[in-house]
């Protein structure tokens, strides 16, 4: 049993990582490269669970270096990227919706060390035209939606797009602008999967804001959520008011947005900025964080999870089982704890992501292009399941 697998991207810089959200069978991650000199690519990483083999396919993304990537929840072939484009000595980050060519899967299965000679190119569906609004920080798909609505965060604007005609046309259905002193700029955002997908959380500088997408107005604002820049946030998939955030103060904080004065919990395990935080999609006590201290930390936040300890345990099931004795010992109330610290990376880790297909699998990507796939330790897995 292999607990971890590494994959080194051929191109040495990468920041963007996503799980293929709509794919529920194969364990698949998408990595976008960053290069100013060469053509940028999207690496499709398939993890063969049975054989413990990584398969890789490459698609060309010639529009520019990729800063952010996100897969459609409805169509596994559709994805968005945020890429930077240099024109007239100006660097602008744009966003676009792409479709993977249908042949990639059939024709382009190659081993990682065999360079792709003729990578196929992504098919552009439409641009999320942002010339009026400035650089795009990220694009968010509607969670579990029909793949027709996306939000882009551009400078200090929140733009809600409707994708029409098989995503070939994007129109802004509504927008909001964050007004205030100085140059405000969104650094991250997350579309809440709760409340019928009507809420959004954004981060700018040290503040976290909540938005109501129906009225496009701010509903809460956690000023100074972090001591310094907030880098990322994520909603608890099972508890509608809970969200996690991370930032340059090396901390991960958990918030109940109904009580925004104090965080519910605060973790301070990383020794540098925390760039990415992700709740496990099914078991929200599992939390993944990636940091520029080159570490990935998997934490078990039992105390604030939707599965309080013992909730799922049925005593009758255990009683006639010989293992129940052992099991009971292991069933001591779990404390919030660090499950594991992964140190395979040698450079800053900018992205971590859970697999969409297997809830016990996750990937992390560091700047040097190293993608590491890990599993949740088996003991913990069984403890959560049993």
């Amino acid at each position: 049993f292999v607990n971890k697998l590494q994959y080194l991207a051929r191109i040495d810089r990468a920041r963007a990582l996503t799980a293929q959200t709509a794919e529920t069978d194969a364990i698949r991650f998408l990595v976008g490269t960053q290069s100013l000199k060469f053509d940028n690519q999207i690496h499709i990483i398939d993890f063969d669970d049975e054989n413990n083999v990584i398969n890789k396919s490459v698609l060309l993304h010639d529009a520019g270096e990729i800063w952010h990537i996100s897969g459609s929840p409805a169509d596994k072939a559709v994805l968005t990227t945020c890429y930077s484009k240099t024109s007239e000595s100006r660097v602008l980050t744009c966003a676009a919706v792409w479709r993977m060519p249908p042949e990639w899967e059939s024709g382009n299965h190659e081993s990682p060390d065999d360079s792709s000679n003729n990578p196929q190119t992504l098919e552009l569906l439409c641009h999320l035209d942002n010339t009026a609004h400035g650089s795009v920080a990220c694009v968010l798909w509607e969670p579990m939606g029909d793949g027709k609505r996306v939000i882009s965060l551009a400078e200090n604007h929140v733009l809600l797009w409707d994708l029409q005609e098989s995503s070939t046309k994007a129109t802004i259905s509504s927008s909001a602008t964050l007004e205030g002193k100085g140059q405000l700029k969104f650094t991250a955002g997350k579309w809440s999967p709760h409340h019928n997908n009507t809420q959004l959380a954004t981060a700018n500088d040290t503040a976290i804001r909540g938005w109501d997408l129906r009225s496009m107005s701010q509903i809460y604002c956690i000023e100074n959520a972090h001591g310094q820049l907030v880098r990322d946030l994520d909603f608890n998939p099972n508890k509608q008011y809970y969200l996690a955030s991370c930032g340059d103060d090396c901390k991960v904080k958990f918030w109940d947005v109904r009580h925004i004065n104090e965080p519910v919990k605060c973790l301070e395990e990383h020794s540098h900025w925390v760039w990415s935080v992700r709740y496990n999609h099914s078991h929200d006590q599992l939390l993944l964080t990636g940091s520029s201290d080159s570490r990935v930390i998997l934490s078990n936040m039992v105390s604030i999870s939707s599965e309080p300890f013992g909730h799922l345990v049925d005593d009758d099931e255990l009683s006639d089982n010989e293992e129940s004795q052992q099991e009971d010992k292991g069933k001591e109330p779990l404390q919030d704890s660090i499950i594991a610290t992964y140190e395979e990376h040698e450079d800053s880790v900018y992205a971590v992501e859970w697999s969409a297909a297997d809830p016990w699998l996750f990937a992390s990507l560091s700047y040097d292009g190293r993608l590491v796939i890990n599993r949740v330790p088996r003991a913990l897995k069984y403890r959560i399941l049993l």
Partner: protein, 778 residues
């Protein structure tokens, strides 16, 4: 023979019936033989008769020679007779000789006895004559005496009668004069005399009350005594009289058969009213002067002199007057209720004693308070009052410790505020010696705290002084010293220092903390000093002063030291973080706000880099004032002059070369360097050691890592990259000297330039020589 055997038999019975502790049988036999001889046998007449009737017993009294001879002649042969005869002759001869010897021996005695008897005969004759003469004289005397008494008979009877009458008359006179006398006593208020007089007459009057004249007197007396009792009661009720008068009053009333229980109640209620006045006086003093212009000693003095002493007096006189159990119970209740009120007043007064300036006053007051209560315990052995008093003292002492602790805490905060102000004072504006330097501030702060603590200890020590009555109570011997002073005061204060230091790290955290970094540094050093020496010093001092015997577990020195060290570590870490963030912020702003694509060719080191170096230098100085240098690795000869490999892509390839380009040429030296660097993972916000180099390394690490991450988020033009090159070279020139391992600076700056080159649209690096020239110039 028959007789002999039966005699033996009877002897046997005798000995059997006599108790074992009587004469031994041997003596008894001799005795009985003697008795036998003299016919005193108590065994009965049978034996006596048998004995007396035996004429053949040659030793018996009824021996008949004829019978004996006949018997012998009849029974014995001739030979036997001959033998018998010779034996007899032999016996007679020996008896004769024995008698002769006895006569010779006693001859002289016989002579002298005869003489004496003759002499006595003569003397008795003379005496007989004298006796006759005496009896004649006696007869004459008897005759005379009878004559005289016959003559005096009448007069004697008369005298006896007269003296009886006289006594009676005197008694009567007393009785008749009694009403007047009583009245006079009443007038003169000589109640005691009146009562004793009446008591003497009362029985007589009672006895003869059937005679009208006595009846009158009795009635008169009754009236007067009624009046007297009335007056006494009045006097009793008026309450103007002193306790002594009062007790006299009660004594008299008791003699007048007033019911004792009622008197008890009255006595106590009267005393109560007077205590009421005392207590109200005290209470008024409490109320009237919230500012308390009388100090606590005066207050306690007043309480003792007025209340406690009269309470003692009352107890004493009460106990003299009433001795039964019921009265004693009443007294206890009475004393307890009064004492409770008194105690509540005292406690209120003690609580008002908030100022911690002069503890000796309080201790003296408490001592007096306690001492005076001991009198009650002597008077009233079973009373709970003295122990309650002790409890009050204990509570006061506990309260006092708390007050001292909070005073110390306030003092500590004030001192810190002073330090803060001293730090905030502009350094350049005033002359150098006006604002004290960090080490001076540290010494003065730590001295202030220590002196304050010492003076507090000295104050608290008064509680256990030898001449203080309550200092030998078990509480003050044990718990007060260990739990109170050591734990409650000293340990709590040290813990408080650590606690508040930690709070500086948390509250003043990332949200734009207002704590000046210098204060953090100072506190960190303070805590470290505490860890190394001060704590053990303070605790040893305390233990010595108070001779603490730890009956209960106390906080060990090591635990406190660990806490202090932890606080020091936290503060220093926080200092590094804060300073690192200040520099980081400068660097971040400088990278984020610049348009790196369209920048001009670098001519100078950017001002912000100079600022970074300046700030780092001043931090270095600041830390150097309080912390030791620390160890650093040996420098290479040309630390400041080092070139960066701009084409970091090549370096990257080398780094990962083994994975899939094994044939690629590589610089083995560089490779090993990199491997070395990566073998020690760099933790950016990691705990630092207590020395200057470690602190500076931490700060520089944080700053440069920020620089790196910011660069990676930007896109650079050709000149943008060159500017980064220049800036990094400048930093390299100055920063290496501050850190423990210069490779760290090299590595991070290397990464920065490499990342910038990678993020560059037109990566054409600047000549190293040009960079050096610019940096030298700048």
């Amino acid at each position: 023979f028959m007789h002999g055997s039966s005699d033996k038999h009877s002897l046997f019975f005798n000995s059997a019936t006599t108790p074992p502790d009587s004469d031994p049988s041997q003596r008894r036999r001799v005795h009985s033989m003697l008795k036998h001889y003299y016919g005193l046998n108590e065994e009965g007449k049978v034996t006596e008769q048998a004995e007396s009737l035996d004429p053949c017993d040659i030793n018996g009294p009824h021996f008949d020679p004829e019978v004996y001879l006949n018997k012998l002649r009849m029974e014995c042969s001739l030979g036997e007779l001959m033998d018998h005869e010779s034996c007899m002759v032999k016996q007679i001869r020996s008896l004769d000789s024995d008698m002769q010897t006895l006569v010779y021996e006693n001859y002289n005695k016989f002579i002298s006895a005869t003489d004496t008897i003759r002499k006595m005969k003569n003397d008795f004759k003379k005496m007989e004559d004298e006796m006759d003469c005496l009896s004649a004289n006696m007869a004459a005397i008897t005759e005379f005496s009878a004559h005289i008494s016959g003559t005096l008979q009448d007069q004697h009877a008369q005298i006896t009668k007269l003296s009886g009458v006289h006594t009676l008359l005197r008694k009567l006179q007393f009785l008749f004069e009694l009403p007047a006398r009583l009245n006079k006593c009443l007038e003169l208020q000589a109640y005691a005399q009146a009562v004793s007089a009446h008591r003497r007459a009362r029985c007589v009057l009672q006895q003869y009350s059937h005679m009208p004249s006595f009846r009158g007197i009795q009635d008169d007396c009754h009236v007067i005594m009624e009046q007297l009792a009335q007056q006494l009661r009045q006097k009793f009720r008026d309450g103007g009289s002193s306790a002594k008068d009062l007790s006299e009053c009660v004594e008299l009333l008791l003699q007048l058969d007033e019911p004792a229980e009622e008197l008890c109640d009255k006595f106590l209620s009267h005393a109560q009213s007077r205590f009421e006045a005392d207590l109200q006086g005290l209470e008024a003093e409490l109320k009237d002067s919230p500012v308390t212009d009388t100090d606590i000693l005066e207050f306690i003095d007043r309480g003792c002199n007025e209340f406690v002493s009269s309470l003692c007096l009352v107890i004493a006189s009460y106990q003299e007057l009433f001795i039964n159990q019921m009265a004693n119970g009443k007294l206890h209740v009475f004393v307890d209720t009064l004492a409770a009120r008194y105690f509540s007043l005292v406690e209120r007064r003690i609580q008002e004693e908030k100022g911690v300036s002069d503890n000796s006053l309080l201790v003296r007051a408490l001592d007096r308070f306690h001492r005076r209560l001991q009198a009650i315990s002597k008077l009233l052995p079973g009373s709970a009052v003295p122990s309650q008093g002790t409890e009050i003292v204990v509570r006061a002492a506990r309260e006092r410790i708390k007050q001292y602790l909070s005073a110390l805490q306030t003092f500590y905060h004030d001192s810190l505020t002073d330090v803060r102000q001293a730090l905030a004072a502009p350094r350049g504006a005033t002359s150098k010696d006006a604002t004290p330097s960090l080490p001076e501030l540290l010494t003065s702060l730590s001295n202030f705290i220590l002196n304050q603590l010492k003076s507090v200890l000295a104050s608290v020590h008064l509680f256990t002084a030898k001449d203080i009555t309550f200092s030998n109570k078990p509480y003050f011997k044990g718990e007060f010293c260990s739990q109170g002073v050591r734990e409650g005061l000293v340990v709590s204060f040290i813990k408080f220092i650590c606690q508040s230091s930690r709070q500086y790290c948390e509250s003043a955290g990332d949200r734009g903390g207002s704590t000046p970094p210098a204060l953090l540094l100072l506190l960190s050093r303070l805590c470290l000093d505490y860890e190394t020496s001060t704590i053990s010093y303070i605790l040893t001092l305390t233990d010595e002063q108070f001779l603490v015997q730890h009956h209960t577990p106390v906080t060990p020195v090591t635990a406190l030291c660990a806490e202090a060290r932890e606080a020091a570590q936290k503060l220093l870490n926080h200092y590094v973080k804060v300073q690192g963030l200040i520099i980081s912020q400068m660097l971040r702003k400088s990278v984020e706000t610049r348009d790196w694509v369209n920048t001009i060719e670098p001519r100078n080191v950017r001002a912000v880099m100079k600022r970074v170096v300046e700030d780092t230098t001043s931090i270095d100085v600041q830390v150097g004032l309080l912390y030791e240098e620390g160890v650093r690795k040996a420098h290479s000869s040309d630390s400041s002059k080092r070139t960066f490999s701009v084409y970091s892509s090549s370096r990257q390839q080398i780094r990962y070369a083994p994975s899939y380009t094994p044939s690629a040429p590589m610089d083995t030296n560089l490779l090993s360097n990199i491997h070395k660097l990566f073998s020690e993972r760099i933790d950016i916000f990691s705990p630092v050691e207590f020395n200057k180099v470690s602190v500076l390394t931490g700060i520089i690490k944080i700053s440069l890592k920020t620089f790196l991450e910011c660069v990676r988020l930007r896109t650079f033009g050709r000149y943008g990259l060159q500017q980064i090159q220049v800036d990094c070279h400048y930093l390299q020139m100055y920063l290496w000297r501050f850190v423990s391992d210069e490779n760290l600076v090299h590595f991070l700056l290397d990464e920065i330039v490499g990342s910038a080159a990678h993020r560059c649209l037109d990566p054409s690096p600047m000549e190293q020589s040009v960079i050096e020239v610019i940096c030298e110039r700048g």
